[in-house]
């Protein structure tokens, strides 16, 4: 894949999969530091798919739990969610999540997982994968810090350091909720990044308004409702009706001009 040397002028936003993994290690580091990424094994992953059709965004949220012996199934399920042409979005995925997926796929001899290969091999400025740490300059920009600055709710139920304990206690529901919250938060950060990059408020207001409506209509996702009513979502839901009307007005202008042109032509 061609490696870009600069951020692309336009990211694809028609089909975006934002994801995050929760992992455990066999043995924690004696000094309490974060173990090297090759030692991590995924125990849960959440994938938020946002696709656009006919002016509206559709969403699906898939969470997979990876018990001992289910690694191949977990990796295959993950791979299937990144079709060619889609863009993966992560926070620190270039240095961690995609690398963990690739190494685990190699460990289990799953060399046909070409979608994971594509996003794991993507360079810093490829459009197959956008790492939000690259979009926000890396150092010092954690998800919690970015979300705090952007009024995005995050890490309300647990924290990343708790995942090992939760897994050993068998509390997979808490892990699933936690990783889902992180993914929703990452998606909201991504919307800010892409709208800013392209200087187009529609790229955040319309998907975020649609996301809020979708979350409110999904009883199983009630724990994610803060993302439908947070500051950015309220702004998006207030702004989206005008942006939709503006697009419809442009269509109406086009139709009117066409009708006038046809009338002028017929009168000649």
């Amino acid at each position: 894949m061609r490696q870009r040397q600069h951020p692309p002028l336009q990211y694809p936003h028609e089909y975006v999969v934002t994801f995050d993994l929760e992992t455990v290690v066999e043995k924690e580091m004696p000094d309490g530091s974060f173990p090297p990424w090759p030692r991590h094994k995924p125990v849960a992953g959440t994938f938020l798919t946002a696709s656009r059709s006919e002016g509206r965004y559709d969403f699906s949220l898939d969470t997979f739990i990876c018990h001992e012996g289910q690694e191949a199934q977990f990796l295959r399920s993950a791979d299937a969610l990144f079709p060619p042409g889609s863009m993966a979005v992560t926070l620190n995925g270039r240095g961690f999540d995609t690398q963990v997926l690739r190494l685990q796929a190699q460990r289990h001899a799953l060399y046909d997982l070409r979608n994971i290969a594509r996003i794991a091999d993507a360079g810093r400025y490829d459009i197959a994968h956008l790492d939000l740490l690259d979009a926000y300059g890396g150092r010092g920009s954690s998800l919690a810090e970015l979300c705090a600055a952007l009024s995005i709710p995050v890490k309300t139920s647990t924290s990343g350091g708790d995942v090992g304990d939760l897994w050993r206690r068998g509390d997979v529901e808490a892990i699933a909720k936690y990783v889902q919250e992180d993914v929703l938060a990452s998606y909201l950060v991504y919307l800010h990044a892409i709208a800013w990059r392209q200087g187009d408020e529609r790229l955040i207001a319309l998907p975020l308004a649609d996301l809020a409506i979708w979350l409110e209509g999904e009883p199983r996702l009630q724990h994610l409702l803060p993302f439908a009513t947070c500051g950015p979502a309220q702004w998006a839901r207030s702004r989206a009706p005008y942006l939709r009307a503006e697009a419809a007005l442009a269509d109406a202008e086009l139709r009117l001009r066409k009708e006038q042109d046809e009338a002028a032509f017929a009168a000649r």
């Binding site: 809020a212 939709r244 009307a245 419809a248 007005l249 109406a252 009117l256």
Partner: protein, 205 residues
Amino acid sequence: MTEEPVTFVSLAVATVTIPPANCDTPPGTHLVGAGLMIATRHGSRWRFSSEAGTIAAGEKEQGLLLWLADRLPMADTLIGWQIDQHVVPPLIDAAAHAEPTIAHHFMVRLARVLRGNVVDLSVDRSAKAEDVATASSMTPDTLLGNWGTGRLDAVRADLATEAIGAWLHFLRQAQHVGADAEQATRAWMHRRSSIHLVERAPGAA
């Protein structure tokens, strides 16, 4: 220096879902009515007006768009319930099927009213639908029944009630800031209902 008037518009729409004529076509959603409550503050004085319009079965939606376009004012704030999912989409859809001149005329006015502050009362988690949509007959089945049997007066009355209900809910959310406006609105509603009672009294002209 004179204070500029500030205009609030509460907008409600009614749609019905028509079952498909055959299995191959999806059910169609039709815009059948719209209700408006317009409140204008000029200094310490309030002026109110409320109207609702409907189309009968067989009439084109564009007739309602023309009616609404002529009444939508330049608004500082638009108020409604589920504006982005239930108010704006049927209006845009109706415009997409209207004659180009009418569609353009209507969309200019709709875009203008949405450009300002838009308050969707459904986004406030403390609000419940029944607090806002005070007309029980706005449920889909009852609405379809009223509209389908030509009881358009009932549909218009319910649309006006819903628009006024949203306005009053908006004022209650504003608490003490909205107290004067709520008092003025209720006084206006009382005067209006008195006029209607006189109009309906036996022997009234």
